[in-house]
């Protein structure tokens, strides 16, 4: 009874995890103590992400197709997709907690400005439409590659990326500076605190999504996806739709009430 | 000490004793069973016993239901006892609200405000056999107002007023009962040294003492 399998062949090693962890720790230490450390940390994070993406592109950690596993009750979900769904549960909980915190402070405060006093509903609406359209683009990209249409995949991915970037540009380049000029800032009180923290965290998630879509674009241009092998498109698409859905909650909660 | 135990504490002790009694019975059953099994079923030399004639790994719905029912009955009895045996310091009394004392916690001490505007620090003098309403808040961080011998506490939270009621024990003549007040919530480096005292004297002595006070600074604790 031994289990002396040659782990060198099966479990491939990688320096990406320790690099990413060290980079993040260095970054956090830097923002507290000494900013150049944070810059160094960001560089290490970039190197680690590059390694992760490279591993992905070389399919170093791809799973064997055939497997004799117990699958009930989730036979229809492959391993990566299940992982993405579980991850989304944790994201729902973190955004949910923050939204509950927002509701708590708003309901227990005596004077809270109505949305029209502090927010530009038109810009918010425009951003909502832009994000929804980018989700649509991701769906079209997925359907294209399922049908073997690599060109459609590229167009869809590029559109999703462009629309997502537009969302961020409007938010960070137009909307927020306008609020700051009007005195509605992150430190101007609870209404500002809640708005900027929640939409800020959402913007960070949009940014991370853009990085992931960028990875997909790179791989689509190097021929990494076929009509049968494109699970990354679907899984990252899932994440992108989730980010969109979070905005569907944030928009009415901040811009309409 | 011949100092009397406040009513809230003796009620608390009754409930506590009842709960501990039940707990000891439960522990005796669990530990008794465990020790009995360890002795009776210990491995003896040369024994390799398997028990295929035993319903291994099968559910035992009947036993589970019995066990759950007993537990529920025990717990419900405790809950009922806790409500009937112990008046709760947070329940607003019908009728008079009692003598209202504003308690303000701060880093690191206590300010007590009397209805007439008098303020005392780190000590509150109260008449015996009187219902007292403590209106508790804080000016900085969270503290916890613990009336040790009363077995009652409530947190002092900035921006919030928490109210509790206690009845002081009877004091006659020259009786002077001293009770401790501690802070139970870590509130900075002075947390350890935030002790206060409650002095309980007879109502007539109290009225005299109150009349002698010259400090009439209005209490700024609100309320």
């Amino acid at each position: 009874m031994t289990e002396d399998y040659e782990h060198g062949e099966e479990c491939k090693s990688s320096y990406a995890p320790i690099l990413l962890a060290a980079g993040v720790a260095l970054f956090l230490l830097g923002i507290v103590v000494f900013l150049p450390l944070a810059v160094a940390g960001a560089v290490v994070i970039g190197a680690a992400l590059y390694k992760f993406f490279k591993d992905g592109a070389e399919e170093k950690f791809a799973e064997l197709k055939e497997s004799l596993e117990e699958k009930w009750p989730l036979e229809f979900l492959n391993k990566e997709k299940l992982g993405v769904w579980v991850f989304l549960v944790s994201e729902i909980l973190i955004f949910g907690s923050l939204i509950v915190a927002y509701a708590y402070v708003r309901l227990s405060s005596s004077a809270w400005p109505v949305a029209t006093q502090t927010h530009d509903v038109i810009l918010g609406m425009a951003n909502t439409i832009i994000l929804l359209t980018s989700s649509l683009a991701m769906v079209l990209a997925l359907y294209s590659i399922r049908a073997g249409n690599a060109k459609g995949l590229k167009i869809g991915l590029l559109s999703a990326f462009a629309l997502g970037a537009t969302f961020l540009i409007i938010k960070l380049g137009v909307e927020w500076p306008m609020y700051y000029r009007n005195g509605f800032t992150i430190s101007s009180g609870l209404p500002g605190s809640t708005y900027f923290v929640l939409t800020g965290l959402h913007a960070v998630h949009v940014g991370a999504g853009l990085a992931a879509v960028g990875y997909l674009i790179f791989r689509s241009f190097t021929g990494g996806f076929t009509s049968t092998k494109h699970s990354a498109v679907e899984n990252i698409g899932l994440y992108w739709h989730f980010v969109d859905i979070v905005w569907m909650f944030l928009f009415p909660l901040f811009y309409l009430i | 000490m011949s100092q009397p135990i406040p009513v809230s504490a003796s009620d608390w002790n009754h409930l506590f004793d009842l709960a501990v009694g039940i707990a000891l019975v439960a522990m005796a059953i669990v530990f008794g069973a465990m020790i009995y099994f360890l002795v009776k079923y210990r491995e003896r030399k040369g024994q390799r016993k398997f028990v295929p004639d035993f319903r291994l790994g099968k559910s035992r719905p009947r036993e589970s239901v019995i066990f759950a029912s007993i537990s529920i009955i025990v717990l419900v009895s405790l809950v009922v006892a806790s409500y009937s045996l112990t008046p709760n310091a947070r329940f607003e009394p019908a009728g008079s609200k009692g003598l209202i004392i504003d308690v303000t916690a701060y880093q690191w001490g206590w300010r007590f405000g009397y209805p007439n505007g008098l303020n005392t620090f780190d000590n509150v003098t109260l008449p015996g056999n009187t219902l007292i309403m403590f209106n508790v808040t804080s000016t900085d961080v969270m503290h916890n107002f613990y009336l040790v011998q009363f077995r009652v506490s409530i947190e002092a939270i900035p921006g919030r007023y928490n109210v509790i009621w206690v009845t002081t024990p009877a004091a006659n003549g020259n009786d002077r009962w001293i009770y401790n007040i501690y802070c139970k919530e870590l509130c900075g480096v002075g947390h350890t040294f935030m002790d206060a005292t409650m002095t309980v004297i007879s109502p007539s002595v109290y009225n005299q003492w109150m009349a002698n006070q010259t400090d009439t600074t209005p209490s700024s604790a609100g309320g």
């Binding site: 995890p17 320790i18 579980v86 | 589970s64 947390h191």
Partner: protein
């Protein structure tokens, strides 16, 4: 492997010099066994640090009016002791054992996402380094207690950079655990070998499933609270400085995490106790289905009890009544789990060795600690308990007692599996007795210290607390060193050459009996690590039953369960 060459290391099946001494390999590993060992070693390191902090605290409190530690140093010590022990020692020790054992118990090659597993570990390590280094920052480290209550946690009242660093370290740690939970949940759902059905899942793996489900739910709210706190400290937001409920907001977010967290800490321990009792009483757990139903009931209910930590905050009393009710409700299935473990000894064939002794001690402490918890479920009683040493006694009984004893038992139990060596049994028993005695001398007096608030750095002579405190300190001086020697016993066993017996305890679960040899050589089309024989009678829900009759060996013949000689013939071949 057959024809073992010189320098062959049976732990990893490779030459010694290329495994154990290869730093590069350890830095880049994604193998669940190596990551598990890294977790365990790191957790023991942080336990030494946090344990020393505990000894320092007890030294300060040994006599009245002591000045061994200043109040500020004492407050930092108590904060670090709590944070390290709960989050950086007990949780990762369970995760480390799970990393090693769970894939073996379900017949998987590795966890579902091996690189993310390594990332979880390194994030955990670096977050711990950040936390400990916060103490060396100018201005000192966090001094608010591990609960980091608001508004004390804001820049206004705790301005030192070390506090901010600690908050970020905690945030990084919650990311580590969240990644771990995604990994384990996906693994247990999808990476089970054929034959390892849900009904036949070992109890320890079930306990990890419950633990990781709770972790998925509990850590995001903590991360949310820490994000809000970080933005308060960096960006000038006012979430926790606000007098509009800022203090209570932190309480709600923190305890919504905090209560499930204590179950995350204790569930792996309960799983270990079940495994150890099954092996050393030679029988399966009592009433397995009911046991698992009760275990899952505790899991579900644990997200609905958090406000029992807030009974003295002055929130609406009907809310407190609701949570008192849910807390009492959860005690019923929890009692059921503990009783199920005790009844596992019924009609068994019990061997009292070191892992068994530690698990029995864990049952003792969980009963005592759990029952004091039931008393705390009554708000009226909790007015006096909350914030005093009664609570400190309660949680040390369930955490330092149950969890630590049971996880140490797990280390002792699986030591021959992980290292192929046997620790010294005599010293195991001796250190157990001494540490159990020291533990009780240390913590039992706390239940008589209702008059002593928590986190005070000293007390006066007139408080009458001197005798109890001195007793507790003596207990600490016994418990700490004994615990250290217990770990030393394990480490020293590595000097011996590895033994050839891979299943000295006659364990029945798949990590002991699974045939993992050679199944992963290149060219094998299956993605799982082991072939699990199907039992002759598919209606049997417990792997234990047919494994005890010897059928779990891949080439075992079918047996008649009522034929004793059949059973002895087949079971003789189960251990190697």
């Amino acid at each position: 492997m057959d024809g073992q060459p010189n320098g062959y290391n049976p732990i990893f099946g490779r030459r010694l010099k290329t495994i154990v001494f290869s730093i590069k390999e350890w830095l880049s590993t994604t193998n669940h066994k190596q990551v598990g060992i890294l977790y365990i070693v790191t957790a023991i390191f942080f336990m030494a640090v946090a344990g020393s902090f505990g000894e320092m605290m007890r030294t300060q409190l040994a006599v009245p009016n002591n000045n061994f530690l200043t109040p500020f140093t004492y407050d930092q010590t108590v904060t670090l002791h709590g944070l390290l022990m709960i989050l950086w020692v007990l949780t990762p020790l369970g995760i480390g054992i799970a990393n090693y054992i769970v894939p073996l118990q379900i017949g998987a090659k590795d966890l579902a996402f091996p690189r993310m597993n390594a990332l979880s570990y390194w994030t955990y390590l670096f977050s711990g380094i950040l936390l400990v280094s916060s103490v060396f920052m100018p201005g000192g480290g966090p001094n608010t207690g591990w609960t980091l209550y608001a508004p004390l946690n804001t820049i206004q009242f705790t301005s030192q950079a070390g506090m901010t660093l600690a908050v970020l370290a905690l945030l990084l740690f919650s990311l580590s655990v969240t990644m771990g939970s995604i990994n384990f949940l996906t693994t247990i759902v999808r990476n089970r070998a054929k034959g390892v059905t849900w009904k036949r899942l070992p109890i320890f793996t079930w306990s990890i499933l419950f633990t990781m489900s709770l972790a998925l739910f509990a850590f995001p709210p903590l991360a949310a609270g820490l994000l809000l706190l970080s933005s308060d400290r960096f960006l000038g937001t006012v979430f926790f400085s606000s007098t509009q409920g800022g203090g209570i907001l932190w309480d709600e977010l923190f305890w919504f995490f905090g209560h499930p967290e204590v179950y995350i800490v204790v569930f792996p321990a309960l799983g270990v106790i079940a495994e150890v009792f099954q092996t050393f009483a030679k029988r399966p757990v009592f009433s397995r289905t009911a046991f698992l139903v009760e275990f899952s009931a505790v899991t579900f209910l644990s997200v609905g009890v958090w406000m029992h930590h807030m009974f003295t905050t002055g929130v609406n009393y009907s809310v407190l009544q609701t949570f008192s009710f849910t807390t009492l409700a959860i005690s019923i299935p929890f009692e059921g789990v503990v009783l199920g473990l005790v009844l596992t000894l019924y009609k068994g064939t019990i061997k009292l060795n070191t892992p068994m002794l530690y698990c029995l001690a864990a049952i003792f402490t969980v009963t005592l600690g759990g029952i004091t918890g039931v008393l705390q479920a009554f708000p009226v009683l909790d007015y006096a308990f909350n914030g005093t040493y009664w609570i400190v006694g309660h949680f040390h009984y369930v955490m330092a007692g149950t969890t630590l004893f049971a996880l140490v038992a797990g280390l002792y139990y699986w030591w021959p599996k992980i290292t192929k060596r046997k620790y010294n049994e005599k010293w195991g028993v001796i250190t157990f007795i001494v540490s159990f005695a020291g533990f009780n001398i240390l913590y039992f007096p706390y239940f008589f210290m209702l008059d002593m608030p928590r986190r005070i750095s000293t007390y006066s002579v007139s408080s009458g607390l001197a005798t109890l405190n001195l007793t507790a300190t003596i207990g600490a001086y016994i418990f700490g060193p004994a615990a250290a020697i217990a770990i030393l016993n394990l480490i020293l066993s590595l000097r011996k050459p590895p033994s050839q017996t891979s299943n000295p305890w006659e364990g029945r679960e798949l990590e002991w009996t699974g045939d993992y040899s050679g199944s992963l050589a290149t060219g094998n089309p299956t993605a799982t690590a082991v072939t699990v024989a199907e039992p002759p009678d598919k209606s049997r829900s417990s792997r234990w039953y047919w494994c005890m009759t010897g059928s779990c060996k891949p080439n075992a013949t079918a047996v008649d369960p009522t034929n004793q000689s059949d059973i002895l013939r087949n079971s003789a071949g189960v251990e190697s």
